[in-house]
Amino acid sequence: MDGTDIEQLELDATRPGTGGSLITVACESMWRLISASDRPLRRAVIRAGGVSVELEWPEATGQPAQPAPPQVAPLNGAARAEARPGPHAHQVCSAMVGVFYRCPEPGAEPFVREGDLVRAGQQVAIIEAMKLMTPVHADRGGRVEEILVADGQPVEFGTALIALAEDGPR
């Protein structure tokens, strides 16, 4: 791998007391550590005065392009989508804080079930916020792989609601 995969690279060799040779040694040891792993780095910090090499890899979510989920207590009573979908899935996410509903009204058929094919723009759920029902539309087409949130559960902005498999119609 090369340095272009690294999202952020800091070099701190300009500070007083930083030896040029130290930085060379630190760089060498950094590249050694990086090449020992086949996963792209998120952050690398080298400090030469006092010597420190810090490397940070993103958490293993199977989706290197996505930022790691925040390490916070889950929403009160809400089952945060535990089962992370496979690497080929696309997630329809909530655009607001509210309550997730799968059906147009209580007792009605759900908008979509697992295994259904959906078109881009098709309504797949409802989020209720401030007593207003806001439709959730699929932002692309695909096969519904999994409904990630239980009916009637509170969701946050950005909560993954529905996993779509990539092999469906575009």
Partner: protein, 473 residues
């Protein structure tokens, strides 16, 4: 714990940055659970780590997160919070938000919607305070109708004058007008600003005092009619209407004048039936003082008042919002010593104080006796370009002002903040607080501008005697 069972059991913190951390601390001390409402930009922030729960309310853009009433109220409902603390800025003084909270059975930690509406409308606030006997600067009480009207008022007021947006605040929607020739253009621009920022194009005129001091009074008033003043703060060191250094007591002003100003603030709070923590702002010109506005929220500079009174203002805000009576009477408020606050911002003094946000890789705040640092930073934290540039507030206390200032200088010298792209105003703050004008309390709201114009290269030191190469330049 006194009255703990009468307080809220859970509070939503509808803010970010250092004030969110500040609020979480007091809640923890009071045994109140906290929920941090955060935007995607702040998902790794200090308050998210510190709060008992956290809920992501929207994207980086404040309009869809920290200023989205629906997202915040829904977040409070879903997490079963009994109250919302709005901090400062964002929705903290929005009467519609306070009303929406009430409509959803969530207590808003701040004044009532009615009070916020009156204070937010500057012409109304000026009229109410004038009726309560507070002196106003010469100018218009009602909003200016048209340019003819403006010229007529300006003739009485005299130049220079300030043209201000009726709903303005936070240094926005204010323009200095030096002569009649500038009036029309300034009025047009301020109307446009007011419309853009506050959806209110009304403006009013006010005489501008050059070389005045900014003195404000901290008020606490409970729902049972007890009013306390916790002393004044001098916030005269400002850059483009943004405060940089604040202190208490106000130096170099007579004891009689200061007690008149504090009494005026109490009168104003009682006249309007204020509830919560609030700040009455005044301009002081030699032996005269003039009411400017009331800020119905906790203020950035509140820690200096806490340092000299020993009273936790956020705790009092929460207790007042819960309907509890104040536990103090005016004679209980003993102010001791002097306190000063410096705002450390991520901005580059070498390029017109442009914001210089980024990742913080090294963060070593000062410490030691009588030094307080309110911050949300840590090594690895990111100062986001999406929000304001405040990194930390450093507050020092001492029995007297000169000692508080040298303690501040030592604390700032100790502060190490580094990272790619990060620049700070620390060196600038040190030069300002060591300047003879400030040490001798001869400074005013123009001092910083005046000192800056004295030097051609802003990143060189302000006075030769203080020359010391900035560490980062």
């Amino acid at each position: 714990m006194t009255g703990a069972d009468l307080l809220f059991s859970k509070i939503l913190i509808a803010n970010r940055g250092e004030i969110a951390v500040r609020i979480a601390r007091t809640c923890r001390e009071l045994g109140i659970r906290t929920v941090a409402a955060y935007s995607t930009e702040d998902r790794d922030s200090a308050v998210v780590r510190m709060a008992d729960e956290a809920i992501q309310i929207g994207p980086a853009a404040a309009a869809r997160s920290y200023m989205s009433m629906a997202a915040l109220i829904e977040a409070a409902r879903l997490t079963r919070c009994e109250a919302i603390h709005p901090g400062y800025g964002f929705l903290s003084e929005d009467p519609d938000f306070a009303e929406a909270c009430a409509a959803n059975d969530v207590a808003f930690i701040g004044p009532t919607p009615e009070i916020l509406a009156q204070l937010g409308d500057k012409p109304t606030a000026r009229a109410v305070m004038a009726a309560a006997g507070l002196p106003l600067l010469p100018g218009s009480i009602d909003p200016v109708q048209d340019i003819g009207d403006a010229h007529q008022i300006a003739e009485v007021t005299g130049y220079p004058l300030m043209i201000k947006a009726a709903s303005g605040g936070g240094g926005r929607g204010i323009r200095l007008v030096n002569s009649a020739a500038e009036l029309a253009a300034a009025m047009h621009a301020t109307r446009r600003d007011g419309q853009a920022w506050f959806h209110d194009g009304r403006v009013y005129l006010e005489r501008h005092l050059t070389g005045a001091r900014h003195v404000e009074v901290q008020i606490l008033r409970d729902a049972h009619g007890t009013t306390l003043e916790l002393g004044e703060r001098d916030c005269s060191l400002q850059r483009r209407y943004q405060k940089l250094v604040e202190e208490t007591p106000a130096p170099g002003l007579s004891v009689e004048l200061l007690s008149q100003i504090r009494a005026a603030a109490v009168r104003g709070a009682e006249a309007i039936g204020y509830t919560g923590a609030g700040t009455f702002e005044f301009l002081v010109d030699s032996s005269q003082f003039y009411f400017m506005e009331v800020n119905g929220r906790i203020q950035v500079e509140h820690p200096v008042t806490e340092a000299v009174t020993g009273i936790d203002l956020v705790r009092e805000q929460i207790r007042i919002a819960a309907g509890l009576p104040l536990q103090y009477r005016q004679p209980d408020i003993q102010r001791r010593g002097a306190a000063i606050e410096c705002r450390v911002n991520a901005e580059d003094p070498a390029s017109e104080f442009a914001p210089a946000p980024g990742l913080i890789s090294e963060f070593v705040p000062p410490s030691g006796p009588f030094v307080r640092v309110d911050t949300y930073s840590f090594p690895g934290a990111r100062i986001s370009p999406a929000y304001d540039s405040l990194i930390a507030k450093v507050i020092t206390w001492a029995t007297d002002r000169p000692t508080a200032i040298s303690r501040m200088d030592a604390a700032l010298a100790e502060f190490r903040i580094n990272g790619p792209g990060i620049r700070t105003n620390i060196q600038f703050l040190r030069e300002i607080i060591r300047h003879p004008l400030f040490l001798d309390a001869r400074h005013n709201t123009n001092t910083i501008q005046h000192l800056q114009s004295q030097i051609s290269r802003p990143h060189t030191t302000i006075t030769a005697s203080l020359a010391q190469p900035p560490t980062s330049a």
